[in-house]
Symmetry: D3
Subunit: 138 residues, 6 copies
Amino acid sequence: MSTVNSAGDAGLDPRVKAVFDDIRATRGTDFINNFWRYLAFDPALLESTWAEVNRVMATPSGLDPLTKEMIYIAVSVANGCGYCVHSHTGAARAKGMTAAQHAELLTIVGLAAKTNHLVTALQVPVDAVFDQDAAPRS
Amino acid sequence: MSTVNSAGDAGLDPRVKAVFDDIRATRGTDFINNFWRYLAFDPALLESTWAEVNRVMATPSGLDPLTKEMIYIAVSVANGCGYCVHSHTGAARAKGMTAAQHAELLTIVGLAAKTNHLVTALQVPVDAVFDQDAAPRS
Amino acid sequence: MSTVNSAGDAGLDPRVKAVFDDIRATRGTDFINNFWRYLAFDPALLESTWAEVNRVMATPSGLDPLTKEMIYIAVSVANGCGYCVHSHTGAARAKGMTAAQHAELLTIVGLAAKTNHLVTALQVPVDAVFDQDAAPRS
Amino acid sequence: MSTVNSAGDAGLDPRVKAVFDDIRATRGTDFINNFWRYLAFDPALLESTWAEVNRVMATPSGLDPLTKEMIYIAVSVANGCGYCVHSHTGAARAKGMTAAQHAELLTIVGLAAKTNHLVTALQVPVDAVFDQDAAPRS
Amino acid sequence: MSTVNSAGDAGLDPRVKAVFDDIRATRGTDFINNFWRYLAFDPALLESTWAEVNRVMATPSGLDPLTKEMIYIAVSVANGCGYCVHSHTGAARAKGMTAAQHAELLTIVGLAAKTNHLVTALQVPVDAVFDQDAAPRS
Amino acid sequence: MSTVNSAGDAGLDPRVKAVFDDIRATRGTDFINNFWRYLAFDPALLESTWAEVNRVMATPSGLDPLTKEMIYIAVSVANGCGYCVHSHTGAARAKGMTAAQHAELLTIVGLAAKTNHLVTALQVPVDAVFDQDAAPRS
């Protein structure tokens, strides 16, 4: 149950079709998950989101692909986005996440949530040593 | 400004002193950051939290220490915990996080937040392919 | 699947029946959506909530009805309330929200979420110019 | 640093003055905390909020006053509202919360945050037994 | 639909079986709810979580069991964890929560959410009187 | 107190200088608020964020500029981002938001937060009528 119609494969807006074609080519599979099919209700939002996801997540960089996916999962869990947790857990597995790494990711996420709440409840003041503006610039 | 008193170094409860001594020995520094000084208002909570943080974050495991810290930062940002963002950004730097990796971490966190909100706004249904219970068990 | 029973139309508590009658008269339809049927488990909470929603959302004021609904959707998305996103997207459409306005609303919500997370990750200090208490009072 | 001006004690709007007088009489103290002074930027919002807080928190009911304050703290921590954590921790102490009860409250809040995040990460399906709509009505 | 497989009752890892046996013995029922069945994907996480829940929630302490469950519900609502709201509402009922107490709990949760958002929107500065570090130590 | 250094006006990276020049030209003021000065720690993130903010918020579209700012404030409040609330409340005032409109915005935000939490606590099922996928496509 959703708030907009999803796009099928027929009768697509040319801009939507171009993005779908690029998703298929980039991923090497015909399957397009629901996020893109629903985002297609607005071609401009679909285009800009796909371009950003592709640039951030698929461009070789200083973080390896699996680490990126685990960071994505962590944010999605903390923001309570079920779909996002599902899709990025799937992506992390496809990039080699083992069951042990998954368990460790969740253990850290749970611990961070606990200490986040304790800090908020205690209203702990930030130690001066953590202030980067006070640090000597390199 | 906080909701409980912080503990100094004098006149400590023996259980608090034991944790502070262990923090200093484990980290090889005399400095104890505010989280532990405020958590000391309850020796049992201090003990159990330090034990858990130590076990999860400092035990060699399938994720390297820097990856763990970046996951911790990601959760803390999404949960809006300023102190936690400060302290774990400091910890990640101490474990070798470069400015480029920090920038990439934040880029992923910002992108994930955006797509999390889009998914929630669209109420995208989960694709059947992401259901692990439906997957063949190994 | 819910945590309380929903109210049907028969055998209602008189206070619940009075609110249901008022909802039907105000909206000019016999349909009563689930929020009110479940909130009916406590007549006092039903009465006070309906009175507040009616006063805030239906009283002519300095913001037009569609703008109000879009603000409501924005909060509901950020709070991760799926039901609320569904019901207020429906209400916004009934008040004239076009597909283009819906897309623009979501684009802003997604952008705000991204910059919210970046600000939290950077712990940006508030500029003095934004302090209203420091502004001259009119 | 705030987004609106706070109200002092001189030259007040009569509706604001009436609420301030009622706060002082109800609480038996001349002190008015900042929440009310800033909310005074809109007399209608000040009136309705004070009326609601008074009705919910100060009317004798099936939950004792201290339990109510601890629930309020729990929500405020989870929503990350520092001011609210401060003011309601103060209120809970004024109603008799001991240091041990405070520590236990925080221990539960931290544990709930941890399991909340684990459940979201696992996307645990709700057990049928928890469905109240399926339960026999009394 | 979940991100990991759930554990049935056959062919269990001995550590998982030991926890399941302890859950059954502690609760006096053969039923094991899904949280534990899914958490079983990692025996270490299952063991530590069950031990923590048991210690915090089931050990006699300065807060009565029902108050603890209502605090747990409050956090789960604010964190938007549907499963947690279901399971702890069930637990609270089992510990004697009446419909009137449930309604009052929700009334407080809703009010706290409202004032939390107002405080954040106004950016109310914390009153000096709430600073515990400035208070005389006992 | 922040997690990265802020950029002054001297010795800037050319890409940072170009964005700062564009911000000044676009807004017709020499003032650059802290968000951009801190985001400057990563020129690529600064460029892409400024481009997106400019495109979404400053391009004439189907929503008027003040409505856009109020939606931005609503998301920022619900996400608990103090800096964002300050800066976008300032921006909304600059675009003509009156005190009455500000009060009404906050009234809606507070009400939405309350009903969001009630819906989550009740776990209200979505009415079939809100399912857009079931609606006839235009």
